[in-house]
């Protein structure tokens, strides 16, 4: 079977949904961050697949590279914040970090 | 108009000065306006053009907004009234307001400036601007220096007027837009916008926007709810300004804007307007009768009196219009005076409950006689200004609609009942309680005495007022 655009799109859609699901349901902060990574990478797959099969140009690749860099930056900050949460709360269960309400 | 400018500029600098400065400022404004009227009297009454003074400068030209003030006979009369009551309101606050005087007088002068602005603005944006400007200080006046339920009253006042004001603003924008689309020039100027053509439905919709704002201010009966609270809770000067001036802006708005802009819609609405006015007369009188709080009672008489204005405005003839203007002026004087008198009594006794008074005549004859005069004025005794006004309104509207007018005249009878009731309950009958009440002081005599003079003058010789507004009335009726 020839692997075509549709396959990539399906994969990316699955990844996107899984990521979203993870962000919403997981309690562990690190798991939530992993969900985020999945969502970002789903978009990345889209970009590259479109660039390849859409018979298009290099712009998709550029976008993907930038996204990878930014995802790394975001993860760095995110982990720093999670570390701080651990220091302050002694756990990283985000359901229990809920001082702010109203 | 000069007075307006003086009062405005002075008002903004006045923050930290005491009552003397505000008195002087308003007095200067009043004298200037008076001198202007005296020297130009012939010109005012005989000139064929409606506008006496016209001042225009650009403000936001990109949107067709200019700082455009103009004054005709109607504005002039109302400005005189404003400044006159302004002087009095400073005088009566002399002793009543003991704390935060600087801010108090600041607010007072801003209201006066706003009201004068409303009476002179002929750019709709500017008009709305002043319309809102006068609300804020009034809100503070009620909210800070008011009586026991001041916050509630201030809120109610503000929300009512603000909501209706915004609808008017939408209507102004609609007018602006339709005019701009048909003629190609976008402008907020009164003179540009006059004579804009609409589809009937649109015209009616826009007019309702304007009318709603004016009707809340006037107040017309289903929308009068804020008034008793605001009047009752406001300090005396606040009640005076509310009754004497702010209510007039509603009437002024209808005459100046609502009718000339939308003549067709106005014709459609006229009979309903008259009916609403009549309901206001009767309903206000009935409620006034059943009040035990003196201030509330006077407030409801305002509702009733303003019913006459509403009735006359929609009659569309000179007689009724002359009556309306007279009613605006005399109501300002007589109801203002009643509020002042009630304020004096409150100052002395710290109660406004009608049931706790009685038989005070022997103790305070001056206060009592003043009260009698204005109670009589309020019921429309010949020889006092209100009689002329109500008579003119009724005879004018009689031509327009006999049935409604006949019903409305019952209001006169009711007026007699409630007015006399005030006097009878407070000053006659058995003494229910001992009050240690000094009679009026020299300052209070000056205040009330000047009001008495004016009300008599208007009762015996109302011609100057009528002459001054005649050209305006002719003009307004010309749009119909």
């Amino acid at each position: 079977m020839e692997i075509g655009l549709t396959h990539y799109l399906v994969i990316s859609a699955i990844l996107f949904s899984l990521g979203l699901y993870g962000i919403i349901t997981r309690k562990h902060a690190i798991m939530v961050l992993m969900g985020l990574e999945l969502v970002l990478n789903a978009a990345n797959i889209n970009f590259i697949a479109f660039a390849r099969y859409g018979g298009m140009n290099i712009e998709g690749h550029i976008a993907a590279i930038f996204v990878i860099i930014l995802a790394a930056a975001e993860a760095a900050i995110a982990l720093a914040i999670v570390l701080n949460i651990y220091q302050n709360f002694r756990h990283v269960n985000i359901d229990e970090v809920d001082d702010l309400k109203g | 108009m000069l007075g307006g400018a003086v009062a405005w500029i002075a008002g903004s600098f006045n923050q930290h000065y005491a009552r003397n400065i505000s008195l002087v400022t308003v007095l200067i404004g009043f004298v200037i306006a008076l001198v202007y009227t005296a020297t130009n009297y012939v010109h005012i009454t005989t000139s064929t053009t409606q506008w006496l003074v016209d001042y225009k400068s650009n403000w936001i030209p990109a949107y067709g907004i200019s700082f455009h003030l103009a004054m005709d006979g109607l504005s002039l009369i109302l400005i005189l009234l404003t400044l006159f009551l302004g002087v009095l309101s400073v005088l009566i606050s002399w002793k009543e307001i003991k704390e935060r005087t600087g801010f108090y007088y600041f607010n007072l002068l801003w209201i006066l400036a706003g009201v004068i602005g409303v009476f002179t603005a002929v750019d709709l944006f500017l008009f709305y601007f002043f319309w809102e400007i006068m609300l804020i200080p009034m809100y503070f006046l009620i909210g800070i220096w008011g009586h026991e339920r001041k916050i509630y009253a201030a809120y109610k006042f503000f929300i009512y007027t603000q909501a209706s004001g915004l609808l008017m603003f939408l209507a102004i924008l609609g007018l602006y837009y339709i005019h701009g689309k048909t003629t190609g020039t976008y402008s907020f100027d009164y003179f540009d916008l006059l004579g804009t053509k609409f589809e009937p439905a649109m015209g009616f919709l826009l007019m309702s926007g304007f009318l709603l704002a004016f009707a809340v201010k006037l107040p017309v009966v289903p929308l009068h709810n804020w008034l008793p609270d605001a009047h009752t809770q406001a300090p005396t000067a606040g009640s005076l300004i509310l009754a004497g001036l702010l209510l007039k802006t509603g009437a002024y708005g209808i005459i100046r804007f609502a009718i000339p802009f939308f003549p067709q819609a106005a014709h459609v609405f006229a009979p309903y307007g008259m009916i609403i006015g009549t309901i206001g007369i009767l309903y206000g009188a009935k409620l006034a009768f059943s009040q035990t709080d003196l201030k509330r009672l006077v407030a409801y008489t305002s509702v009733s009196h303003m019913g006459f204005v509403m009735l006359g405005v929609w009659a569309f003839n000179d007689l009724a219009y002359q009556g309306v203007v007279m009613q605006m002026v005399t109501h300002g004087i007589s109801t203002g005076a009643l509020f002042i008198l009630v304020g004096f009594m409150y100052e002395r006794t710290h109660t406004r409950d009608i049931n706790s008074f009685g038989g005070l005549w022997a103790q305070v004859p001056k206060l009592g006689s003043m009260m009698l005069i204005f109670a009589l004025a309020s019921l429309g005794l010949p020889g006092l200004g209100n009689f002329i006004a109500e008579f003119l309104v009724l005879s004018g509207s009689f031509k327009a609609n006999m049935v409604i007018t006949s019903i409305a005249s019952i209001g006169l009878v009711l007026g007699t009942i409630y007015s006399l009731r005030i006097f009878q309950r407070v000053f006659q009958g058995p003494k229910l309680k001992e009050w240690s009440m000094p009679d009026l002081s020299w300052r209070e005599v000056i205040v009330i005495g000047s009001l008495v003079l004016v009300i008599f003058w208007l009762g015996f010789y109302p011609q100057p007022v009528i002459n001054a507004v005649k050209p305006v009335i002719t003009n307004v009726l010309g749009y119909l």
Partner: protein
């Protein structure tokens, strides 16, 4: 794209505002590494922003420059200039605040400048890649700014919440961009616009734009993407909150204006419908939720949702002077919001923020000048004449009238009344009597930097409210194309 091209001196000069914002924090970073000094960092940041402002003014009359996915034209320079001014005000406010609350103060400023850079670049972006990049520069700086006071539970929590939601919204935005890319084969606005002119809207494109709007809506905090707003507003410290409320939202509005000017996205009824619903929902929900708040920061958070709804009205009436109205409203809103959070920052102590409305009870009798200023701010938020908020609303309403958006305008009127109610509550609180008042406000005597900022903001509010023509002409001159 401009490849294989050496940048000329002229172009370099035109890029100066952005380069300064890049260089400034980098230099500061090095200096901090050598020696920490709060006052110096503070002053250095002020100078950076001042330099940006000067270069913006110097370049303002230049012809537009398209370079590396950025457009440096009057529009982006105007926004950059505004952001720089806001940056100065926030810097002025921060000094006192950080002195009181934080033990490590210097890095805050470089994050501030970086975030401002992100916002400015967003407005200058003419390509989805640069849009996304600058958005992330802004977001990543914001994460750390929100969680800056790292020993405060609330700040950390707000930071995490913002991070998770912001990252998710960026991902959604990215997905939308990918869909648009798939349909048009291009990422620059101009190419997409040209393509759209030929092919029209396909379902994919509509879906793509919907996702882009969702991502942007998150940054602008409009309903239904507003969940983070109140928590983050409350949790972050006041200077940061004022930054989120102004520069961050403004950058997104500016970016959207540019995007939809080049890509005629608003010619599609579905897109307009979505925006209309968002605007209406934002106004109502924001105002109604704000009614119930007793915390001033949360109140301002919900009110900001409503204000963005008002801006959307102007945005929907795009061609009818709507973009200018939106920009003006944004400016007016900036001044007002800075004022509100400025007061909070000014009155906050190391023990906590001055965020409870009851804190302001009787303020007028203790600090009349501050109370008068707060009253001015509240009136401006409520849109009462003489203040910038009124004129802003007027411009928005005018553009709405021209675009025949009567339903939305009617909503605007209703919501203004609701708004008046809760803004007045704050005012009433300040003017009510001071009985049973235990707290006393500790406030430094004399002129402080924060004071200067507040005076400046007050002057701006009044200036925009009384004489808006000058600024409006500037905005009109800076329109794209």
């Amino acid at each position: 794209m401009t490849m294989n091209k050496i940048i000329t001196t002229q172009e370099l000069l035109q890029l100066m505002p952005f380069l300064l914002m890049l260089a400034g924090p980098v230099i500061l970073l090095v200096i901090i590494a050598i020696k920490r000094n709060h006052l110096f960092s503070w002053f250095f940041t002020l100078m950076t922003f001042a330099g940006v402002l000067v270069t913006v003014i110097a370049n303002f009359q230049q012809l537009p420059l398209n370079i590396a996915m950025l457009t440096v034209d009057k529009f982006s320079l105007l926004y950059t200039g505004i952001f720089a001014i806001v940056g100065i005000v926030i810097t002025l406010l921060s000094h006192n605040y950080l002195e009181k609350t934080s033990d490590h103060k210097e890095e805050f400023y470089l994050l501030l400048v970086f975030a401002t850079l992100g916002s400015s670049l967003m407005v200058a972006s003419n390509d989805f890649v640069s849009l996304f990049l600058s958005l992330e520069v802004l977001s990543v700086s914001l994460y750390s700014m929100i969680a800056y006071l790292r020993n405060q539970d609330r700040a950390i929590e707000a930071g995490l919440k913002y991070l998770v939601l912001a990252a998710m919204s960026s991902a959604v935005l990215l997905f939308g961009i990918a869909l648009v890319y798939f349909e048009t084969g291009a990422l620059s606005y101009a190419a997409i616009g040209a393509k759209l002119g030929k092919t029209g809207f396909t379902p994919y494109l509509v879906a793509g734009f919907a996702m882009i709007i969702a991502g942007a809506g998150f940054k602008m905090s409009v309903v239904p993407f507003h969940w983070w707003t109140s928590d983050v507003y409350q949790g972050a410290n006041s200077p940061v909150t004022s930054f989120i409320a102004t520069v961050s939202k403004g950058g997104m509005v500016g970016a959207m204006i540019r995007m939809f000017t080049i890509i005629p996205g608003l010619e599609n009824n579905a897109v307009v419908l979505v925006l209309t619903i968002i605007a209406a929902a934002s106004m109502f929900l924001g105002n109604i939720l704000a009614l119930q708040q007793t915390n001033l920061k949360r109140l301002l958070a919900y009110s900001s949702i409503a204000h963005l709804g008002y801006i959307l009205i102007a945005f929907i009436s795009f061609g009818n002077g709507g973009t200018q109205a939106a920009t003006f409203y944004l400016l007016a809103y900036f001044a007002t919001t800075l004022g509100a959070f400025g007061i909070i920052a000014f009155l906050s102590t190391s023990e906590g923020e001055a965020e409870n409305i009851s804190f302001y009870k009787g303020l007028y009798w203790r600090k009349p000048a501050l109370a008068a200023f707060m009253t001015l701010v509240m009136f401006s938020l409520a849109g009462i004449p003489l203040t910038s908020g009124f004129v802003g609303k007027f411009f928005v309403a005018t553009s709405g009238v021209k675009a025949d958006l009567w339903v939305l305008l009617f909503f605007l009127a209703i919501n203004s009344v609701i708004g008046v109610y809760y803004y007045l509550r704050v005012v009433v609180m300040m003017f009510s009597n001071k009985d049973n008042q235990v707290e006393t406000i500790v406030c430094r005597k004399g002129v402080s930097a924060g004071m200067i900022a507040l005076v400046f903001v007050a002057v701006m509010i009044l200036y925009l409210g009384v004489y808006p023509s000058g600024i409006m002409e500037l905005i009109q001159k800076s329109a794209i194309n």
